[in-house]
């Protein structure tokens, strides 16, 4: 099952997505990137039905870039989120709704970091932390318990993802992690599951 998480810090947003592309019981790809860069400081994380995810995310991505070309300046994260939600809503009651769940994370020079939660019924909510997927059931409560606005440093991420390894029956071996701050989008180190770590250690010792 797919998993997305986003946490807003004092001057950054941290997002992570699992990196498995699956087709029924087979893992087709285990380094799949589910994040789409809408602009230099906006990321769209997209999970859901096969095909719909990529098509919808690329559609939003191209439209955000088109806006920039036409008007000379970029959409803010809030505007991009509302644009995305509007598109989801427009297609919701058509013959071809997009069955996707999204997290939109961005940094605005004026407003600071922002994280938006959107689901396939085109709900939109600005939230300090959010998650999608079965893993959300396990991780949201930890965030509820320990999150303090302005107090999330980022080292706590590994502990958050380790709870999935501990309790979640479906193995999510690795995650892509990125942070957005005023400098833009930064790739952080991939967080790997325990199995991967053990494999890595074995390979080194061989």
């Amino acid at each position: 099952m797919e998993y997305l998480i986003g946490i807003q810090g004092p001057d950054f947003v941290l997002v992570a997505a699992d990196s498995v592309a699956a087709s029924s019981i087979i893992k087709m790809k285990d380094d799949h990137d589910k994040m789409f860069k809408l602009s230099d400081n906006i990321l769209l994380l997209c999970v859901g039905e096969a095909g719909d995810t990529v098509q919808f995310a690329e559609y939003i991505q191209k439209n955000v870039q088109l806006y920039k070309m036409r008007n000379g300046y970029e959409l803010s994260p809030t505007a991009a989120a509302n644009f995305t939600r509007k598109n989801l809503a427009d297609y919701l009651r058509s013959r071809t709704p997009y069955h996707v769940n999204l997290l939109l994370a961005g940094y605005d020079q004026a407003d600071g970091p922002a994280l938006f939660y959107m689901d396939h019924l085109s709900a939109l909510a600005k939230a300090p932390f959010a998650a999608h997927g079965y893993g959300a059931f396990l991780t949201l409560s930890i965030l509820d318990r320990y999150y303090k606005p302005g107090g999330w440093t980022g080292e706590q991420d590994a502990s958050l993802l380790s709870i999935l390894n501990k309790r979640f029956i479906l193995n999510l071996p690795s995650f892509n992690v990125r942070a957005i701050d005023k400098e833009g989008v930064h790739d952080l180190e991939k967080v790997c599951g325990r199995e991967r770590e053990r494999e890595g250690r074995e390979r080194e010792s061989r």
Partner: protein, 333 residues
């Protein structure tokens, strides 16, 4: 070539007909179907071309169904062929003009034909991806290996199906799912690739070709296309391998196996694959993986067709019968 027309539950007359050519079928089909169109639907097996034509009650169009798997036609989970043993149906038999009553030959389809009066939504046809195809990248290019069996339910319709489609001299596509869907859309892709080449004076990249296919097929999502294909080629970025399916998936990767025997193939490939293998070793790995899949999976078999894609394009490496491979590997043990 022989053509049998079986008509469903409500129909009163059954015929065995011998037809000379496909043009005659089309003509005959229209006449025959018109006769029965008031009463029910028809399913036609053309054994020569190994295709199944299905005409549901309401629509006039023929729906060309897979030649690799007999689907749950018109919503049923299986088609139950119960033949009266007295009635012989011989391939290539002469014109048997005696009409048979429904008692002798019953073609019972669970879920009555034409009972669902839906406006234009035809019932979803589920295809069984009865095949094993695989492709993997390594240092010297891409190896593509496929089996060659086509099944219609539990019946093996053919052991000599070509499941690798040659899109152009440097791009290959594999076939899993509906054969008509795969070959049609990949042929259309070949046309688009050629247009790209003419417009841009440059070969199309594998990524772009697979994206073209994915976008074309996405428009028909949910309408019953069944296609699980791998687009393999070599472009200026090196070897390229993409998996594209009718659900809308498009994934780039180093190794894919598609079909009912894919899991068996994954096991063999995953344990034996090294990026620095020689070409012969890689070919042998692909061959072995398909053989192992055909050994375990009932819906895969026939021959192993092997292709190698390298800088100069693709080469057809070998075609080996699975039974001979079986003896060869047994001797080695």
């Amino acid at each position: 070539m022989s053509l049998f027309i079986f008509v469903g539950e409500y129909i009163s007359a059954l015929n065995h007909i011998f037809i000379d050519c496909i043009e005659c079928i089309k003509h005959y089909f229209n006449c025959a179907v018109h006769k029965v169109s008031q009463i029910g639907g028809a399913v036609i097996f053309c054994l020569h071309h190994q295709t199944i034509y299905c005409k549901p009650k309401k629509s006039i169009e023929r729906l060309l169904v897979s030649k690799m798997a007999l689907a749950s036609v018109l919503g049923s989970d299986y088609a139950d062929f119960s033949f009266d043993t007295d009635k012989s149906y011989a391939f290539g038999s002469g014109l048997a003009a005696e009409p048979t009553s429904i008692d002798n030959l019953s073609f019972a389809i669970k879920g009555a034909l034409g009972s669902a009066e839906q406006d234009d939504v035809e019932k979803k046809i589920e295809f069984l991806h009865g095949t094993t195809t695989l492709a993997f990248k390594f240092d010297h290019g891409v190896i593509v290996a496929v089996d060659s069996r086509a099944t219609a339910g539990a019946y093996i319709a053919s052991q000599t199906v070509k499941k690798v489609i040659e899109i152009n001299p440097y791009l290959l596509g594999t076939m899993a799912g509906g054969a008509a869907d795969c070959s049609f859309w990949e042929r259309l892709l070949a046309r688009q690739c050629r247009v790209y080449e003419l417009r841009n004076k440059e070969r199309i990249s594998v990524a772009a070709a697979s994206k073209l296919l994915a976008n074309m097929v996405y428009q028909y999502k949910g309408m019953g296309l069944s296609m699980g294909t791998m687009v393999c080629g070599w472009d200026k970025r090196g070897p390229g391998l993409y998996y594209v399916d009718s659900e809308g998936n498009r994934v780039c990767g180093d190794l894919f196996a598609v079909g009912s025997g894919s899991m068996y193939a994954y096991g063999v490939i995953d344990s034996g694959l090294r990026q620095d293998m020689s070409v012969e070793d890689a070919c042998e790995l692909g061959r072995r993986a398909i053989y192992q899949a055909t050994y375990r999976d009932a819906y895969s078999g026939g021959q192993v067709n092997l292709y190698h894609v390298h800088g100069e394009g693709w080469t057809r490496v070998s075609q080996d019968d699975v039974l001979l491979l079986h003896h060869k590997y047994q001797e080695k043990l």
